[in-house]
């Protein structure tokens, strides 16, 4: 009689690398992508401003060992500019995302706990923001606020909360009818206690993941509106500025001015995406045990 080995676990031992189970692999990916992002930020912060001084006898050099990303029309090292630019974009993006998430949390919980009128108002607002083209609203708000750093951060913050609000509202609505929440109330617990001990722990994973996934979105938007001229000024070398300035020089053949910053932005955004996705797979109980 042969034995039935139905659908057994399928890791095979190759014997070369130590076998990592799926959770360990996920954590490894998280650590690696976080390390990449941190090194970008570290680079941006640690590099002194001397790398950004104009150096007119080194203008428009193509990529070389000394200047891996080349130099621009003022002789500034493109690698340094890119790193600093990414750091600035990241700070702007993180600030804007955090404010957005806080707005979403407040509105979502309010909609689910303060009754029909509030719920109706919030839902209407959410629908309103979601129905208007995103970039249009961004530009409008940035323009009205007079542009600049403040304008960018506020514009991005005020336009990225709707989807997360919906998610939080749905979660809280469902939680409120859960039996264990009702039991809690009858055991004498106050609404505040229930909100912080029962509801919030359920929401925190969603919020964290939502937050991390919001960063790349915010960063790209900041780059976009700066590129269009509504955001950060040229004195602050964010990635959007770098890209928009390099547009002028593309036709003259200095391709490295746009390619490297663009690629770097892409890589950073993608790193955030991967980080967020892997965090979610750790936290989502449905797939956490595979």
């Amino acid at each position: 009689m042969s034995s039935v080995d139905a659908v057994a676990v399928s890791h095979s031992r190759t014997g070369r690398l130590p076998r990592l189970n799926r959770r360990q692999r996920t954590l490894l990916v998280i650590v690696l992508s976080a390390a990449l992002l941190l090194s970008v930020v570290a680079g941006g912060l640690l590099l002194g401003n001397e790398m950004l001084t104009t150096n007119l006898d080194q203008r428009n050099l193509s990529p070389s060992l000394e200047h891996p990303f080349g130099t621009d029309w003022l002789g500034r090292d493109m690698l340094a500019r890119t790193l600093k630019g990414l750091t600035l974009s990241l700070v702007v993006g993180v600030l804007a995302s955090t404010v957005s998430v806080l707005i979403a949390l407040t509105l979502g919980m309010a909609a689910a706990t303060f009754g029909r009128a509030v719920d109706g108002a919030v839902t209407w607002l959410v629908d309103l923001f979601l129905s208007v083209p995103h970039l249009v609203v961004l530009i409008l708000i940035a323009f009205t606020l007079g542009g600049g750093t403040k304008g960018v951060i506020l514009a991005v913050a005020l336009t990225h909360w709707p989807s997360l609000t919906r998610v939080i509202r749905a979660e809280v609505l469902q939680l409120r009818t859960a039996e264990f929440v009702q039991v809690s109330r009858r055991l004498g617990r106050t609404r505040w206690w229930i909100a912080t001990r029962h509801l919030l722990p359920h929401l925190v994973p969603q919020i964290l993941v939502g937050l991390v996934l919001l960063f790349p979105h915010a960063i790209l938007h900041e780059a976009a509106i700066t590129f269009l001229g509504f955001g950060l000024s040229p004195q602050q070398p964010a990635v959007g500025v770098i890209l928009s300035e390099s547009m002028r020089h593309l036709s003259t053949g200095y391709w490295w001015l746009a390619l490297f910053p663009g690629l770097a932005l892409l890589v950073m955004v993608r790193a955030f995406d991967i980080l967020g996705d892997n965090l979610r797979s750790l936290v989502d109980p449905r797939i956490a045990h595979e």
């Binding site: 009689m1 042969s2 034995s3 039935v4 080995d5 139905a6 659908v7 057994a8 676990v9 189970n21 959770r23 360990q24 954590l27 956490a288 045990h289 595979e290």
Partner: protein, 316 residues
Amino acid sequence: MIAPEASEPKPILDVRDLSVSFEQYARGLQKKTLRPITSLSVTIRPGEVLAVVGSSGSGKSLLAHAILGILPSNARVTGTLRHANENLTPERQVALRGSDIALVPQSVGFLNPLMRVGAQVRSAAHNGNAAEAQRAIFARYRLAPEVAGMYPFQLSGGMTRRVLVSTAMISGASLIIADEPTPGMHSAVVEETLGHLRELAGEGRAVMLITHDIEAALTIADRIAVLYAGTTVEIASVADFTGDGQSLRHPYSKALWRALPQNGFAVTPGAQPVLDELPPGCLYEPRCPMSTPDCTGARPEVRALRGGVVRCFHAA
């Protein structure tokens, strides 16, 4: 093991030493192993109703899933499954599922909410004229013809039970597995559903009734397999469940019988071990009145005793 006598039909299903384990993530990065089923052995013959009785967490539903081949992908299975004298390989499971081995599921949630029930029952038929068979079966279970055009949410509790049994009946399966077919229901519906299962056995099919409710099981079963912590501790005939359980072999079966309200409502302390913390020796030892030091060293094997089967060093 009970050796089938020459005059009795051969078992249609022979489960030997089935073990199912899962790996799960514990705190941090460690993995721990859950063993919901260990060395489970059971047979079932055509025309008989075998009740598999155990508490929640005893592995009874997993047994059904293992037979049908629908365990989660991270399950590790060892042991032997034989159906109609051939090994029940994953390929055979796929082929036989629904056609020769049918499941009567637990609730209306197993039906497609977007499909009319008549169509769903017809889709479970594997030979002959599906529409005719469906009409005949509905008539037999006193379901009005209009019911075929209804959606699952429109059915009452009793009607749902009858539709679920119809899907198994129309398949013409020789082995029918009913997994908790009457969860917490009123006695009239329970009796009716169990009666339908008994009829299916009367037609020569084999019926495996999985339940925690031993009283219900005793009303229609021929033999009872008692499960504890994922292993079979006793397989007895229904006649052994009488009096104060003196004919039963395993202390757990006796405790179960005597716990019934009409048998004295006797209390037995202790609880079933959690699946990742199984005792090294006999699984029942921590709460067993007959326990001796030998019982902690090794797990007893299944042995024949007085016409039944028991897994205990001390049973007599």
